[in-house]
């Protein structure tokens, strides 16, 4: 997979099956994919790779998704990278919390890989058109 092939997506999820599933399907759909298992790794990868979009699971061990998003959005270098929050918490308030933390979009699990790709493409278009 070469760097010219497509946008780089950073998938952050502590649940390996879900993370690898989304990573595999994104690659299958032509995206480049980097992976992180928690908030610290996510920040590390983001600063190092400067991805085009971050898929962020909010419930993470160590630094959680909300905190990681807040730090990304407070940093000059990563502020403009769109963050799509991904959570199994369907209770009301979860999406508001995510938006307050700086997430640009919010997707509830279960989310079919196909639907996720649709959302990723939509967000990338939004950024590109802005």
């Amino acid at each position: 997979m070469s760097t010219e092939q497509g946008p780089l997506i950073l998938v952050v999820d502590d649940y390996e099956d879900a993370r690898e599933m989304y990573a595999e399907y994104l690659r299958f759909c032509g995206f480049r994919v980097a992976e992180a298992r928690n908030g610290n790794e996510a920040l590390e990868q983001a600063f190092m790779l400067m991805p085009d979009l971050i898929l962020m699971d909010l419930s993470l061990p160590g630094m959680d998704g909300w905190e990681a998003t807040r730090q990304l959005k407070s940093d000059e270098r990563t502020r403009n990278i769109p963050v799509v929050a991904l959570t199994g918490h369907a209770l009301a308030g979860a999406s508001e919390g995510a938006k307050r933390a700086g997430c640009d979009s919010f997707v509830t699990k279960p989310c079919l890989p196909d639907d996720l790709v649709v959302e990723v493409r939509r967000m990338l278009n939004t950024v590109r058109n802005a």
């Binding site: 879900a18 299958f28 918490h89 209770l91 890989p113």
Partner: protein
């Protein structure tokens, strides 16, 4: 004893030659009564009165032994005053001085002072008196033997001096007999004593001669039978009448004989009232005075009056007694007619009277058993002790003593508790005359009190029970309150748990559905048809599981109040095609005709778009699930009058029996709850819909008949409450 003034009937004949004949008459008298000094003096004074016209005069003699001047006779003045008159031989006394004078002197007595001693002036009247010394015939006599006292200027002085000479010689003659003065004194004392005694008798005492003429009378009799010329006409007439009546009574007594008492009605000369006397007469023989009659009159006027009074009182008493008897009979009737026993006792506690009910308690009925007597004795003892308490106690008049006595029915020995009420009856003088006791049967009152006690006990018990129940209720309430808190906590925990669980469910489900999807997308290469069909089963079941999880989550959210309403303005007409689009795969599989019936004039509503849509999705998917042929209508209607909009989903499905119309809205309920039921689903759909509708200020109603389809209608206000 006082010789009476001669009554008119006794007056003596007047002689033709006054002077000589009269003087001779006096001398004869004096000769006859040579030894009686007082009588001679009195006769002399009377002679003077008759012949010289002296109205009042007095004779005194000298008693050398006693050293006194003594009165022995008087005329026109009370004889007792004369006889009691004495005066010491004091030379300073003008009367004593007159003894030494040669002839008559005029004495002007000093003004009478308050001295009690009588003087000649008090007897003969105020003013000067002529005092004539009485001398004997002998020359050596320097001092007179006595004095004659007269009012001056009365009668011819010749007669007076003649009398003085005669009387003086007579006095001298009598004194010549030696012990005469002594004898006179003795006689005077006896007479005085006798006179005092007889006058002290309050009954009139009279001595009369056989002709009825008065000889001697005591003071009381004089008042009735003697009156001087000077006394009033009425009095004199009364005295005259009394004399006549008395004479008549005496003569009647003489005719009829006997010495028993007779009644005599006389007139009181001073009062004019009638006086009734009882006369006791007896004949006395005196050798000198002859036969006389002594009469004692006893005044029985008061006695008679008292007797009459007694008689009258007695008659009145009889009338009163009869009235009292009638009253008593009437009272007895009344007392007997009172149902309560009444007992009247006297001041010693003895029973005086009792009515019939009292007799039942205090007397032994004839032929009663032996116990009856004992019972009556016991009753008597109880009653006596009660009464003695009253008799000894210092209860005043009108005060009432109350007490309770346990009496026995004599025949049955049944205990009969009575309330005794006793009052004292007192005479006007405050003396206790009787005690009246009424016994009031207490059995009824006791029974009532007993019932009341039981009632009170029951009431208390009831109250206690109510209190206990109230306390229990309070405890229960407290428990419930705690339980409610616990439940709320439990509910919160449940919600939290379900939220966490749903997250835990979603994570693996996400992977299942994701990988299934990827396989079906051919990410891992082409698949056989059989593998594709099997993967589709996995996918379908996974989605179903997801629906269940979502519904459980919705209920949880609503119950936890974490389902916020997000109001926006939208058209209900727009919702219908969106719902149909969402359920398009299901509609296609069902082969049913779904017809939207929109209402173009319906206004936009202000409500939660997401929730309205969720409800309609639910209603339509239910209709699709339970309808096997026919069609489904989705009709939008606007009720402008009530400001409501409705979306009605009508099907031609299996319908719902009326008894299930309410039940199907309950959580986890379907018409058929059995495990082998024909239709799937959580049974939460309608419960969620109803909750959501309520949160929007609306409701869901059902019209259905078994086998004829159902119509579920969502009605919401045009403007949802905030």
């Amino acid at each position: 004893m006082t010789p009476l003034q001669p009554a008119r009937t006794l007056s003596r004949p007047v002689m033709s030659s006054v002077s000589d004949a009269a003087r001779l008459e006096l001398l004869e008298y004096l000769f006859d009564h040579h030894e009686d000094l007082a009588r001679c003096a009195r006769a002399s004074l009377e002679w003077l009165a008759r012949h010289a016209g002296t109205k009042r005069s007095m004779c005194l003699i000298v008693d050398h032994d006693a050293g006194l001047l003594v009165g022995i006779a008087g005329h026109g003045i009370p004889s007792e005053d004369v006889e009691l008159f004495t005066s010491p031989l004091d030379a300073r006394d003008p009367f004593v001085a007159a003894l030494s004078a040669e002839g008559p002197t005029v004495v002007r007595p000093a003004r009478p002072d308050s001295h009690t001693r009588a003087t000649p002036s008090t007897l003969l009247g105020a003013g000067p008196l002529t005092v004539v010394p009485l001398r004997g015939g002998r020359d050596d006599d320097t001092s007179a033997l006595g004095l004659l006292l007269l009012r001056p200027g009365t009668g011819p002085s010749g007669d007076i001096s003649w009398l003085a000479t005669v009387l003086g010689q007579k006095l001298d003659q009598i004194r010549g007999h030696g012990s005469l003065a002594e004898e006179v004194r003795k006689l005077r004392r006896e007479r005085s004593l006798l006179f005092t005694i007889i006058n002290a008798v309050t009954d009139p005492i009279l001595l009369t001669d056989t002709e009825g003429r008065l000889i001697v009378a005591n003071a009381r009799a004089e008042k009735l039978f003697a009156a001087s010329e000077e006394e009033s006409e009425g009095r004199r007439r009364a005295v005259e009448l009394n004399n006549m009546l008395f004479s008549a009574a005496l003569s009647r007594s003489a005719v009829e004989g006997g010495s028993e008492a007779r009644e005599l009605l006389l007139v009181d000369p001073s009062e004019g009232s009638d006086l009734l006397f009882e006369v006791l007469s007896s004949t006395v023989e005196d050798p000198r005075e002859g036969t006389g009659i002594v009469s004692v009159l006893r005044n029985i006027t008061d006695l008679r009056r008292a007797t009459e009074q007694i008689e009258e009182n007695y008659q009145r008493l009889r009338v009163l007694e009869a009235a009292a008897r009638a009253e008593r009979d009437r009272l007895n009737l009344i007392i007997d007619s009172v149902a309560d026993p009444i007992i009247v006792t006297d001041s010693t506690g003895e029973t005086v009277l009792m009515n019939a009910p009292a007799e039942d308690l205090f007397t032994v009925p004839p032929g009663a058993p032996e116990s009856a007597e004992r019972n009556v004795q016991a009753n008597d003892a109880h009653f006596s002790s009660f009464i003695s308490g009253l008799l000894l106690g210092r209860t005043g008049p009108g005060e009432i003593r109350r007490g309770e006595i346990g009496l026995l029915q004599p025949t049955t020995s049944e205990i009969n508790p009575v309330e005794a009420i006793a009052g004292k009856v007192q005479s006007e003088s405050g003396e206790l005359t009787a005690v009246v006791t009424i016994l009031h049967d207490r059995r009824e009152a006791i029974e009532r009190a007993h019932l009341y006690e039981q009632l009170k006990l029951a009431s208390d018990e009831l109250q206690a029970r109510v209190q206990a129940a109230t306390a229990e209720l309070a405890t229960q309430n407290e428990l419930l309150r705690r339980q409610a808190i616990e439940l709320e906590q439990a509910s919160r925990l449940k919600s939290q748990f379900l939220a966490n669980m749903s997250h835990e469910f979603r994570t693996p489900l996400n992977a299942i559905l994701g990988y299934t999807h990827m396989l079906l997308q051919g990410v891992a290469g082409d698949l056989s048809l059989a593998a594709k069909r099997q993967l589709q089963r996995i996918d379908s079941n996974g989605r179903h599981l997801l629906t269940i999880i979502n519904e459980i989550l919705d209920i949880t959210r609503i119950e936890a109040g974490k389902m916020p309403i997000q109001l926006s303005e939208f058209s209900v007409n727009d919702i219908v095609p969106e719902v149909m689009a969402e359920l398009d795969p299901v509609i296609g599989r069902s082969r049913l005709k779904v017809t939207p019936k929109l209402s173009p004039q319906a206004p936009p509503v202000l409500s939660d778009r997401q929730k309205v849509k969720q409800i309609v999705v639910n209603l339509l998917s239910n209709a699709l699930k339970f309808t096997h042929h026919g069609g489904i209508d989705i009709a939008v209607q606007h009720d402008a009058h009530r400001g409501m909009l409705s979306i009605a989903v009508s099907d031609t499905g299996i319908g719902i029996a009326p008894e299930h119309h309410e039940r199907i809205f309950e959580d986890f309920r379907q018409v058929d709850d059995s495990p082998s039921r024909q239709y799937g689903g959580t049974g939460l759909g309608l419960a969620i819909c109803r909750r959501l509708a309520t949160s929007l200020g609306g409701r869901i109603t059902l019209r259905s008949h078994l086998g004829q389809g159902s119509t579920f209608t969502l009605t919401i206000p045009v403007e949802a409450p905030q």
